[in-house]
């Protein structure tokens, strides 16, 4: 139903033939300056991550012990850390880790959460009871505490941190899809699909899922931002990336010993985390307005 509102976007004759709900949303999104700024930030960091070997002038894991905690200079743009490693190179490689952890953990949560949500919402009864209670239990813990517990069981490593973040975000998507499916399945087009003799699987994947994608994408984008922060938090606590991996949160925690002597070792990872998170949040907000005008506050 949300898509009905997109008809309020004035369509010109030439564009009319190609108008689809997704294209309309993109057209609205393009007009949103803050969202475009956010998209710019994301594209910038993605480019940095992809081109890391080209951009970085020093290896991220080898320091010059004579050049420890040096302030930013022409050779070391962001200065060096306590091991004499080039901060700029570490930040550049760190973009890979943060973006990878943020997106892949959220994709994992989306896949598992959507599946569970679809099952719970479509079949109801005891399946819904079971899945919803599991979600309730998971949501009863503060998410970072749950992540810490999971990493503590699996052992600290970047991969396990990613897994933990994926797990703690599953209920967010599960509940979102469950409620969406519960309202969608009463809609007449789903009734019509049943009347036409479609299988449950076809109704779920061809009718319910495509109509649930809009909120998934919006929440997913916003969730990438949270996931990046959670990864950084786990890294800060020493439960995520292990040395010498240049994870931004880990860099912050290493730098805290030297905050007065070498503040740049803290400032640059901090700014990087802030900017990526800001980028995803801006795009997420813009997407929400573009895809589903009713979700606006």
């Amino acid at each position: 139903m949300a898509e009905v509102e997109t008809t309020t976007v004035p369509l010109n004759r030439a564009a009319e033939e190609v108008s689809s709900p997704w294209r309309d949303a993109w057209r609205t999104l393009r007009k949103n300056r803050m969202a475009m700024l956010g998209l710019g930030i994301i594209v910038f960091f993605v480019a940095v991550a992809l081109l890391a070997p080209v951009i970085a002038r020093y290896p991220y894991d080898e320091g010059e012990l004579l050049n420890r905690n040096k302030p930013p200079s022409a050779e070391h743009w962001f200065g060096t850390d306590y091991n004499g490693r080039d901060m700029f190179s570490r930040i550049v490689y760190g973009a890979r880790i943060s973006l990878w952890v943020g997106t892949s953990s959220v994709i994992g949560s989306i896949v598992v959460g959507s599946l569970l949500g679809l099952l719970a919402g479509f079949y109801g009864r005891w399946i819904d009871m079971l899945i919803s209670r599991i979600f309730d239990i998971m949501l009863a813990f503060p998410s970072i505490l749950l992540a810490i517990a999971i990493v503590a069981i699996l052992g600290p490593s970047l991969r396990n941190a990613l897994l933990a973040i994926a797990i703690i975000n599953v209920p967010t998507f599960g509940r979102l899809i469950r409620s969406r499916v519960m309202s969608l399945k009463e809609e007449e087009f789903v009734m019509a699909a049943k009347a036409l003799g479609m299988t449950d699987a076809r109704i779920i994947f061809h009718h319910l899922l495509p109509n649930s994608l809009a909120p998934i994408i919006v929440t997913g984008t916003l969730c990438v931002a949270t996931a990046i922060i959670e990864a950084a938090a786990l890294g800060f606590l020493g439960l995520g990336a292990q040395p010498p991996e240049p994870e931004w949160g880990k860099m912050l925690s290493d730098a805290k010993e030297y905050i007065q002597k070498a503040p740049w070792t803290m400032i640059f990872p901090g700014i990087s985390i802030m900017l990526t998170v800001l980028g995803f949040n801006l795009v997420g907000d813009g997407l929400r307005d573009a895809i589903d005008p009713r979700m606006k506050n």
Partner: protein
């Protein structure tokens, strides 16, 4: 007399009312309470009644979109209430439904081409090329053009969407179409276009309709026979002309007296019913209409009237006509 295509026998649909901490059943809403009727091949059976009387529930129960609580549904002489999923899928090729709200009945994420081809894909009919051809033919049949195929539902007007809904129902060449208030959501000028389209299709494809509506003049226009419902029960069923000229049940009389007339000089006696429709969770004992009936008798308060044939195919459930 044409052959009987569909027969509904003592159909009941009760919805449980649950309450309390443990979701105990504390009562039930009798949405459809013992309805019996038959539809003949090629005819249009109109079902009228006010909102909440169960007419849409009947339509959906016949298609088993809602499972009936009790009673039997025979399609071409075969009971379909106990059929498994696979058998039911075969039956669905012969029974389709057109919905009331053309804005909700089409998947907003699919274009017309996909919406119309999907029924064929589901039932494994034709190759991709044949499906496309049938889809384009069907668009022409319902008065749209093949260039509409790539458009999405939100790019159409209400009337056009309803045509797409009808086209989707027709893709499988069904024998029976249940039209659940197909024109109530449309403008009056568009209503007649869609009604005429449906009548043309009935003639061309030999369709049988169950036409559910609350607009009495629309029902009179399209139906051969008309059934009147009140609080989950059929109170009267007769040929269209007989029902509109000589309604027997006091409820039908009241209902018909409310139809506005185009002739301002015509003096009519308007029957105004007192009170509201009773709560279907606690229907009155005896005849459910006795609380509002202007001709109520003592027997009406305790004994539910039987739905009986009183001659010439006119059925009525009322104590006034017990011979």
């Amino acid at each position: 007399m044409a052959a009987e295509l569909l027969s509904v026998q003592q159909l009941k649909k009760y919805y449980p009312i649950t309450g309390g901490v443990f979701g105990r059943q504390v009562g039930q809403v009798k949405a459809v309470d013992g309805v019996t009727f038959a539809v003949n091949q090629g005819e249009t059976l109109g079902l009228v009644g006010e909102s909440g009387c169960g007419k849409s529930t009947i339509g959906r129960t016949i298609l088993r979109l809602i499972e009936p609580t009790e009673g039997d549904i025979l399609f071409e002489g075969r009971s379909i209430t106990k059929l498994g999923k696979a058998d039911m899928r075969q039956i669905r090729r012969n029974m389709q439904i057109v919905f009331q709200d053309p804005f909700a009945s089409l998947n907003p994420r699919k274009n017309v081409e996909k919406i119309l081809e999907e029924p064929l894909i589901v039932h494994g009919i034709g190759s991709a090329k044949e499906r496309k051809k049938r889809m384009e033919e069907m668009l022409e049949v319902v008065g749209l053009s093949s260039y509409h195929a790539s458009r999405y539902p939100h790019q159409f007007s209400g009337g056009q969407r309803q045509r797409i809904g009808i086209a989707r129902a027709l893709m499988l060449h069904p024998k029976l179409i249940i039209a659940d208030e197909p024109v109530s959501a449309l403008d009056v000028s568009i209503q007649s276009q869609v009604l005429n389209l449906m009548q043309d299709l009935q003639r061309d494809f030999g369709l049988t309709y169950i036409f559910i509506a609350h607009d009495l003049s629309v029902v009179r226009h399209v139906s051969d026979r008309v059934g009147v419902m009140y609080l989950g029960r059929l109170v009267e069923l007769a040929d269209k002309d007989r029902l509109y000229e000589k309604p027997l049940h006091p409820y039908t009389q009241a209902l018909l007296s409310a139809v506005p007339s185009a002739d301002p000089d015509l003096k009519r006696e308007r029957i105004i019913l007192q009170g509201d429709v009773p709560n279907p969770a606690e229907p009155p004992a005896g005849c459910t209409f006795h609380t509002r009936c202007p001709q109520v008798k003592e027997v009406c308060r305790s004994v539910p009237p039987k739905f009986r044939d009183i001659g010439d195919g006119q059925h009525v459930a009322c104590h006034l006509y017990t011979s």
